[in-house]
C-alpha cells in the first residue's frame, strides 16, 4: 500500500496522506506503480521485470526473500505491491507473504508454476491478493494495480471508520473516555459503550451509504472467538472450513465471509505460534517470534493489552488467554464499551507492574513466556481461541479486555471464564487488585496467567496496580510498548498473545511485549494477510502508518492505563481515546510507528509513552493499524515499553477484572493519557 506522503505515524487516520478512497490515483496511475518482484528463478525474474517495465511500472527485482524483506523494511513506503514466487529456497513464499502482510501491509501477489488447488488455496488463506500461474503473461500483470487501489480504498474506509468512531473498539473507547466519567465500574463502561455503539452504528450507517465497500465489522469478542475456536476444534483444524464453522457457531448475523477472514487470521496465528516457540529467548526474540502472541495479548487485553502481554511472550498462554478472554468476554458481556478502559487499565497495570519489574521479573516473564509458548502449543485450543479471539477483535478484545480487567470481578470472571483460563484470571485479577504487591505482580501475573489460575498473580497485580500509579507508568509504558508490539504484530500476535497470557503469568507476557514492541514494528503489518474481513484488524489499520499506531496505542493505552490505574475505567477509556487521538497526533505516538500497538500509546499518553502516542486510543482494533506501517522508529517505545507496559497492562487488566482491584485510582483519570508520566 502506498502511503504516499504520510510521513508521521501518528497522523490522524483520516488523513493518512496516502490515498483516500476519493483520491484514487494520480492521472497517470498506474504508471509508476512500484513493484517489488521476488523470484529465485533468474529467467522468470528477468521476464517479469521486462513485462512490468512494459506496463510502465517501477520494478525492483530480487531473487531472495530475505533481501526482499529487508528492502521492504528499509523502505516502508517504497513499494506499492509485491509479487512473489511460492517456491523459493531461502524462504517459503507464504512465509514471506505473512511477513509482508504483518509488517508492511502491502498487497502481495503470489505466483507459481504450481497450479494445484491446495497451493492456490494456501495463497488465499495466507491472504495473497492474487495468485498467478506461471508462465505469467503480461496481461495478467497489467492489472495488478487494482489490488493496490482496492487495498487503499479499504484502508481508507477503515481509517475513516476509526476516525469517526465507527471502529468498534477504538471508537468506543474513545467515546468512553471522552465521556469523561470514567468510573471504573462496568456500568459506566457499558453506558459509554452503548453510547458509542450507537454512535458507531450511526456512523457506520453513514459510512455504508458513503462507501459501497463498507463492510459491517464483526467484532470478534471473546465469546465469539471462543465459539469460533470451539467450532474449529470440533471440525478439526484441517477440516475447518468457514461454512461449517459458521454452521457450528450458529451466530445470527455472522457471515461466512466473516468467519473466513477470521479463520485466516487464526491460521496465521497458529502458524505463528508454532514458529514462536523458537523465539523465546529474549524479549526481542520472543517478541519477534511471537507476533501472534504479542498481538494476541494486546488485543485481548482490551483487546490489546492482553495481547501485548502475550506477545511479550511473557504472559503465559493461559493467562493471556484468560486475560483475553476476560477482556473479550467483558466486552462481550458488557457491551463492550465501557469496560475497555477499565480493562485496559487493569491490563496496563498488570503489564506495567510487570514491566516495572526489573530484569528478574522479566526473566521470569521470559521464562514464562517460554513456557507459554510451550504452553501455547500445548494448549492450543484455549489459548488459540482466546488469542484468536483477541486478535480478531483487537479493538474489541482490547476493550473487552480492559473492561474486563477493570471491571469488576464479574467481568473478569466472565471473560476469564470464557477462556479456559478464566478462572485463573479471575484470580489474577483479584490478586492484582489487592495491589500491594507490585513487585509481585509480574510474577503473579505470570502465575495467574498460567492455566492453573491466577492466584499468585492476582495479588501481585493488585500490588502493582496500586503502586503503579506512579510507577505504573513506567511499567505501563513498557506494557504499552509491549502491547504495542503485540498489537502491531497484527493479528497473529494477538492470537498469540492470547495464549501467552493464558499460559504464563502476565509477566512473561510483558516481557514479550517489550520485545514484541521492537519486533512489532517489523511485523505489524503482517495483517495484510487478512484482507478486509478481519474487521478488527483491518478496520483498525489505518492506511497510514500513523493510524495503525494510533489504534494500537490507543488500545493499549487504554488498557494500559486501566491496568495501571487500576480500574479506572475511565482512565482506560481516556487512554484509549487518547490513544486514538494521540495516535493521530503525534504526541503519543512517537513510537508507534505504525504498527505500534496501541498499548504503547496508552502508556504514553498518560505517561509519556514513549511509544508513540496514540497507541491506545485507537483501541485494540488498531492492532491492525499498527501493522500498517511499522513504526520506523518504534524503537522508542519498543525498547522500554514493550516489556513494561505489557505487564502492567496485563496486570491492570487482571486487576480490573477482579473488580476489586481497582483501586486504580485513576491514574488513568487524567485526560486520557495517564501514561504520560510513565518513564519510558
Amino acid at each position: 500500500m502506498m502511503n504516499i506522503g504520510s510521513g508521521s505515524l501518528v497522523s490522524v487516520p483520516s488523513c493518512t496522506g496516502s490515498w483516500k478512497s476519493g483520491d484514487v490515483v494520480s492521472d497517470q496511475f498506474p504508471v509508476g506503480l512500484r513493484v517489488l518482484v521476488v523470484d529465485d528463478d533468474p529467467t522468470c525474474l528477468r521476464i517479469l521485470e521486462k513485462m512490468l517495465r512494459n506496463c510502465h511500472y517501477e520494478v525492483t527485482k530480487c531473487n531472495r526473500a530475505e533481501i526482499a524483506l529487508s528492502l521492504l523494511r528499509e523502505n516502508k513506503n517504497g513499494f506499492d505491491i509485491v509479487i512473489s514466487d511460492v517456491h523459493m529456497p531461502d524462504m517459503d513464499g507464504f512465509k514471506l507473504l505473512e511477513h509482508i502482510g504483518l509488517e508492511m501491509d502491502l498487497p502481495v501477489i503470489m505466483m507459481s508454476a504450481d497450479d494445484s488447488k491446495d497451493v492456490v488455496m494456501k495463497g488465499v488463506t495466507h491472504g495473497a491478493y492474487d495468485y498467478l500461474i506461471k508462465p505469467v503473461r503480461i496481461e495478467a500483470l497489467k492489472n495488478i494495480w487494482q489490488h493496490v487501489v482496492r487495498k487503499k480504498k479499504h484502508e481508507w474506509k477503515d481509517n475513516n471508520y476509526d476516525q469517526s468512531g465507527s471502529v468498534e473498539e477504538g471508537d468506543r473507547q474513545q467515546k468512553a473516555s471522552e465521556d469523561g466519567d470514567y468510573s471504573s465500574s462496568a456500568n459506566e463502561g457499558n453506558c459509554k459503550n452503548n453510547k458509542k455503539r450507537k454512535e458507531e452504528e450511526e456512523e457506520a450507517d453513514e459510512r455504508d451509504d458513503a462507501s459501497a465497500l463498507k463492510k459491517p465489522r464483526v467484532v470478534w469478542s471473546v465469546e465469539l472467538h471462543q465459539q469460533f475456536v470451539q467450532a474449529v476444534h470440533q471440525l478439526g483444524i484441517d477440516k475447518a472450513v468457514p461454512k461449517k464453522i459458521l454452521e457450528l457457531m450458529n451466530v445470527p448475523g455472522l457471515t461466512r465471509e466473516n468467519v473466513a477472514s477470521h479463520l485466516q487470521k487464526y491460521r496465521l496465528y497458529l502458524r505463528r505460534l508454532s514458529g514462536v516457540s523458537q523465539h523465546q529467548n529474549g524479549l526481542n526474540n520472543s517478541f519477534m517470534g511471537r507476533p501472534d502472541a504479542a498481538f494476541g495479548i494486546i488485543s485481548n487485553l482490551n483487546g490489546l493489552d492482553l495481547q501485548a502481554i502475550a506477545a511479550a511472550g511473557q504472559i503465559p498462554a493461559q493467562s493471556l488467554a484468560t486475560l483475553q478472554a476476560a477482556a473479550l468476554g467483558r466486552s462481550a458481556a458488557k457491551s463492550a464499551i465501557p469496560m475497555p478502559l477499565v480493562d485496559q487499565r487493569n491490563l496496563f497495570s498488570f503489564e506495567n507492574s510487570k514491566l516495572k519489574y526489573p530484569e528478574g521479573q522479566h526473566q521470569l516473564q521470559l521464562n514464562n513466556s517460554n513456557k507459554q509458548t510451550d504452553l501455547l502449543h500445548g494448549i492450543p485450543t484455549n489459548m488459540e481461541l482466546k488469542q484468536l479471539a483477541n486478535l480478531h477483535n483487537p479493538s474489541e478484545s482490547f476493550v473487552g479486555m480492559n473492561m474486563q480487567v477493570n471491571s469488576t470481578t464479574q467481568h473478569n470472571n466472565s471473560l476469564l471464564m470464557r477462556m479456559s483460563q478464566s478462572q485463573p484470571r479471575a484470580q489474577m485479577l483479584n490478586g492484582a487488585n489487592n495491589g500491594s504487591q507490585v513487585s509481585r505482580l509480574p510474577l503473579s501475573m505470570q502465575q495467574s496467567l498460567s492455566s492453573e489460575g491466577i492466584p499468585g498473580a492476582v495479588p501481585a497485580q493488585s500490588g502493582i496496580v496500586d503502586n503503579a500509579h506512579g510507577s505504573v507508568y513506567n511499567p505501563v509504558s513498557q506494557a504499552s510498548s509491549m502491547v504495542d508490539f503485540s498489537v502491531n504484530q497484527s493479528k497473529e500476535l494477538q492470537s498469540y498473545n492470547f495464549s501467552l497470557g493464558s499460559n504464563s503469568s502476565g509477566m512473561s507476557t510483558m516481557t514479550n511485549r517489550g520485545m514484541l514492541h521492537e519486533e512489532v514494528n517489523s511485523d505489524i503489518k503482517g495483517s495484510r494477510g487478512f484482507p478486509s474481513n478481519y474487521d478488527i484488524f483491518n478496520e483498525l489499520q489505518p492506511k497510514s502508518h500513523n493510524w495503525s499506531l494510533q489504534n494500537v496505542f490507543s488500545t493499549f493505552d487504554a488498557s494500559h492505563h486501566a491496568s495501571i490505574q487500576g480500574t479506572q475505567g475511565v482512565s482506560s477509556q481516556l487512554l484509549l481515546q487518547q490513544g486514538i487521538s494521540s495516535t493521530h497526533n503525534s504526541e503519543q505516538n512517537r513510537n508507534v510507528p505504525i504498527g505500534k500497538p496501541m498499548y504503547s500509546n496508552g502508556e504514553q499518553s498518560g505517561h509519556s509513552n514513549p511509544m508513540g502516542g496514540p497507541q491506545l486510543n485507537s483501541v485494540g482494533g488498531n492492532m491492525l493499524a499498527v501493522k500498517a506501517e511499522r513504526f520506523p522508529d518504534a524503537d522508542y517505545q519498543s525498547t522500554i515499553f514493550p516489556v513494561q507496559f505489557g505487564q502492567d497492562d496485563l496486570m491492570s487488566a487482571f486487576l480490573k477484572q477482579q473488580g476489586s482491584v481497582e483501586p486504580v485510582e485513576t491514574e488513568f483519570g487524567f485526560d486520557g493519557y495517564t501514561l504520560d508520566n510513565l518513564p519510558v
Binding site: D41, K50, R137
Partner: protein, 151 residues
C-alpha cells in the same frame, strides 16, 4: 545469402518450432517484449534459461545419484525447471516436468532417472533449435534485414 531468403528461412524455421511444440505462445510473448530499449531481450532471457537449466539438470543428476535420494529436493528442482521452461516457452521441456514430478511423488528412482534422461534430451533439442534460430537472426541483421515477427 540474401536477406529475403534469410528472412524466409527464419520464418519457416520459427513456424516449425511452434508446430512441433518446441516453442509455445510464451516465446511469442518474449518476442513481443523485445523492443528498442531491449533489443536483445529474447537472447538474454534464453541465455539465462540455458544457464539455469544446465545447473538444474546437473543438480538433478547428482540428486538422483545419491544412495538415498531426497525426492523432495528432486521435486523442487523439477518444479523450478518447469517454471523457467514455461516462462521462456520451451514447451516440450516443460511437458517433461509433469511426469517427472509424479515419479518423485512415487519416490521411484528408476522412473525419475528415465524422466531425467528424457528431459535432458528435450532440453538439448530446444537449445539447439534456439541457437540455430539466433544464428539466423544474426545473419539477417548482418545482411541488413529486419527480423520478421512470427506468431
Amino acid at each position: 545469402m540474401e536477406v529475403g531468403q534469410l528472412q524466409r528461412s527464419f520464418v519457416e524455421y520459427m513456424t516449425s518450432l511452434f508446430r512441433e511444440g518446441f516453442l509455445d505462445a510464451q516465446f511469442s510473448q518474449l518476442q513481443q517484449l523485445q523492443d528498442d530499449s531491449n533489443p536483445d531481450f529474447v537472447v538474454e532471457v534464453v541465455s539465462l534459461f540455458f544457464e539455469d537449466s544446465e545447473r538444474l539438470l546437473n543438480d538433478l543428476t547428482m540428486a538422483l545419484d545419491q544412495p538415498n535420494v531426497d525426492f523432495k529436493q528432486v521435486d523442487a528442482h523439477v518444479h523450478q525447471l518447469k517454471g523457467s521452461s514455461s516462462s521462456v516457452g520451451a514447451q516440450r521441456v516443460k511437458n517433461c516436468c509433469v511426469p517427472f514430478r509424479n515419479c518423485c511423488e512415487e519416490q521411484n528412482t528408476e522412473a525419475c532417472l528415465r524422466c531425467l534422461q528424457q528431459i535432458k534430451q528435450e532440453y538439448l533439442l530446444v537449445k539447439n533449435k534456439l541457437q540455430t534460430l539466433f544464428e539466423l537472426e544474426q545473419q539477417i541483421v548482418a545482411a541488413g534485414g529486419a527480423i520478421p515477427m512470427v506468431q
